[in-house]
Assembly symmetry: C2
Homo-oligomer: 455 residues x 2
């Protein structure tokens, strides 16, 4: 039998609609609250930050939302993305499990993020917006928004967490190549940034701080909106294209997953692959176990509190109910750059509370170990973020081996590691060892919870 | 009309055979000569360096050479590669020309190089070889051989040109992730390396030196062979898969190129896209212009001498007739890392002498300018090497605009620039300016020609 098994859909099979899990959940998610009044927000409250089309998607309860033609057109550059059977990895692990992975690193920006970036750029351009502000951690999101902005002649300004800005000059160069500007956060260009710098001129920054800066700028101008790369419902909806394609591809393979695995930072790539399968289950289809894998150093789903909290450090955003480590949580400077957000997507949190998914956390060294095993078997270098999904899938496969079960495991390889090879260098030199990860500081921070409002 | 036009063949359309242009050329290429006797070499003379299957391909005059099943199987991971119509680039240039590009950056190692690396690894493994030595400049080839070696349990040792080894730690990390070892060249592990270091302890290295080191090691052991990523006939034959797929894809598009463009260092990606089209022409099909684009700082085809020369600096290899800058030529440390070889593939040189192709050279700054225009239009960041092909295609499109012609231009985008973003950073900061390029030194070196043997 052939060792390379790739399931590739024809271009005509790019889904025509995104999938919205809200329509199938047994109860609706808790409302989003206004930070001042603590009353549920309406669409108008969000209008300074987002175009109305995205706000309507954010609050939609429709099961399917049509993908606009120009968005599908750009998707065609790299979609449908391939789904592979990882036969060489199965052999390397000597497991009876069947392992499949959906590979989102085929996008020009190298991850799943363009799935929503292109959609967000489209809706902003449709409503006459000229400029988008956003934040980025490791850089996957900022690169993707820069990529998407170039297609719609949008000016894109990215606030990049300072420690990543310094460690990952390649990501910055990528954003600039696409025509975006990239500023280290905290910066002195915003009030939120200056407030942080006054307290700590050497602040390494955090996603929460960068979000405050981007939100502040967007709120000041009518022709400028803010864009978020994860967490929000409309982002998760856009990412559903991953799981919808995977459903068709598993059918091509004549198989169906027992377990669906994704890494989780803000939650969008995990939701992207898992929600369409959970939706099938909720509508009476086959049951699956959905497993979200997060870093032990930023464990919102496994150790955070389920409570109302701000999305940013400056407390400018509305309050959402989610698993959170507290909006002032400052994660250590470890390598899984994209998985360093203090909170979890409210819809992922709600789905977990409903008992529809599990969460697990791993340290980064065993994740890199799994990633190298994967690279030597399957030929693809996972992003440090995605290495958590690889580790999750490998653990499931090893469990199958112990239990003598030939279960089917599907995971999302959300991106490649081409811009993060310094992390691999550290791993090989032995200097990784969960650098800067300090269980005591993490426990102290968690003990201080709840600093969260309206919970 | 849709702006994203991708022509993707089904997996079953991966060619079953490689194409060998020798069968169609009006006269055979000049023989390869033994460095001692200056007599034509036979297969046995090459046996210490290469497995017999590759030697037989090297000297074959058959038009089609069957692709082994296991090689096609691995090709399936990323092949057939997509061919795009660059409509956004056409609009940005406001040209009546139709521009298509074949994109080889979809391979896991990020370039066309795995097309031959996988084939070479297969034939070596088939003949019981345990270890492969090779050289790499910018790192595309070394990464690809490391990638291919992992599939066949081959130990891979890469001599990487020292200046690149220092400038491109990400490439080294990639090779190590695939399980290969990577040594800066010149090194003290070989006689050739030590000889260079004695003369110049700070030698930045060159491809010619790195080849000498890899060849020396391979010649010493029966279980070790040498592998070259370009230049040789069998490498060009393996790369023909690019052009063979492109022929089918242009048919899907209902179009046929007037001009086929590729960048040329050793010549393999250029030959890969161009030879199948030149072959059609030689067999009575439609005529094309084939344009090889090389860097002004290493202009073997446009300014070198067509003469017998060594493939390496240590003069360990057989003599081949090719366009050469002299085997001791030391190119400046400019960024198009993969295009720094002193010679050109003998088959490309011969085909040029037969009047079947043209060559042109560009400085690197205008190549990066074209690459950034391309990235902002098409969303893909070209490798610095490939930026020469982009520049070549843009120049042809601008000529069409001046002449009011709607010609069809096809170019090979041989790889992405993810591991070379430092070059883009230099470009944006204005510090690129053909750094280290010195017309006087180049002219002096050329004036000293011929230092070449048996010409």
């Amino acid at each position: 039998m052939s060792d390379t098994i790739k399931y590739l859909l024809p271009e005509s099979d790019i889904p025509k609609d995104w999938y919205n899990i809200v329509a199938d959940l047994p109860e609706p998610p808790p409302p989003v609250l206004h930070p001042g009044t603590h009353e549920p927000v309406g669409p108008d409250d969000l209008a300074p930050l987002f175009p109305m089309a995205l706000i309507m998607q954010e609050v939609s309860a429709e099961r399917y939302l049509e993908i606009p033609g120009p968005v599908r057109d750009i998707y065609k550059q790299w979609r449908p993305s391939p789904l592979f059977r990882a036969r060489r990895l199965e052999k390397a692990l000597d497991t009876p499990a069947k392992i499949y992975y959906k590979y989102e690193g085929v996008s020009p920006a190298g991850s799943h993020k363009p799935n929503t970036a292109v959609a967000q750029a489209f809706y902003n351009a449709e409503e006459g917006i000229k400029k988008i502000t956003t934040e980025t951690g490791a850089g996957q999101w900022g690169s993707s928004m820069a990529f998407a902005g170039a297609f719609f002649d949008l000016e894109v300004q990215v606030f990049m967490v300072k420690v990543s800005y310094q460690q990952k000059p390649y990501r910055r160069a990528l954003m600039e190549s696409y025509g975006a500007s990239c500023i280290a956060s905290p910066s002195d260009t915003t009030q939120s940034g200056r407030a942080i710098l006054e307290q700590d001129p050497n602040s390494p920054g955090s996603l929460g701080i960068a979000i405050s800066e981007a939100v502040e700028l967007a709120a000041q101008r009518d022709d400028t909106k803010y864009s978020l790369g994860s967490v929000l419902n409309h982002v998760l909806v856009h990412q559903s294209i991953i799981g919808q394609e995977a459903l068709k591809q598993m059918e091509m393979a004549g198989d169906y997953p027992d377990v669906v695995v994704g890494c989780a930072g803000g939650g969008s790539n995990f939701a992207g692959i898992a929600f369409p399968f959970i939706g099938e289950q909720l509508r009476g289809g086959q049951s699956i176990r959905a497993v979200a894998v997060e870093p032990a150093a930023c464990p919102s789903l496994t150790r955070g509190q389920y409570a109302y909290d701000f999305g940013d450090t400056g407390n400018l955003t509305p309050l959402t109910k989610m698993h959170t480590l507290g909006s002032s949580f400052m994660p250590p400077g470890f390598h899984a750059g994209g998985l360093r957000y203090h909170g979890m997507a409210p819809m992922v949190s709600h789905t977990k509370e409903l008992g529809l998914l599990e969460a697990v956390a791993y340290h980064q060294t065993p994740c890199f170990e799994a990633a190298v095993t994967f690279a030597r078997s399957e030929g693809i270098i996972p992003a440090p973020e995605s290495s958590h999904a690889v580790k999750g899938a490998v653990e499931e496969a090893m469990r199958c081996k112990r239990e003598g079960k030939s279960e089917t495991i599907l995971f999302n390889l959300s991106g490649h590691g081409h811009f993060d090879m310094a992390a691999y260098t550290d791993y090989f030199s032995g200097s990784l060892e969960d650098k800067n990860y300090d269980e005591q500081s993490l426990s102290d921070a968690l003990a201080k919870l709840p600093p969260v409002a309206a919970s």
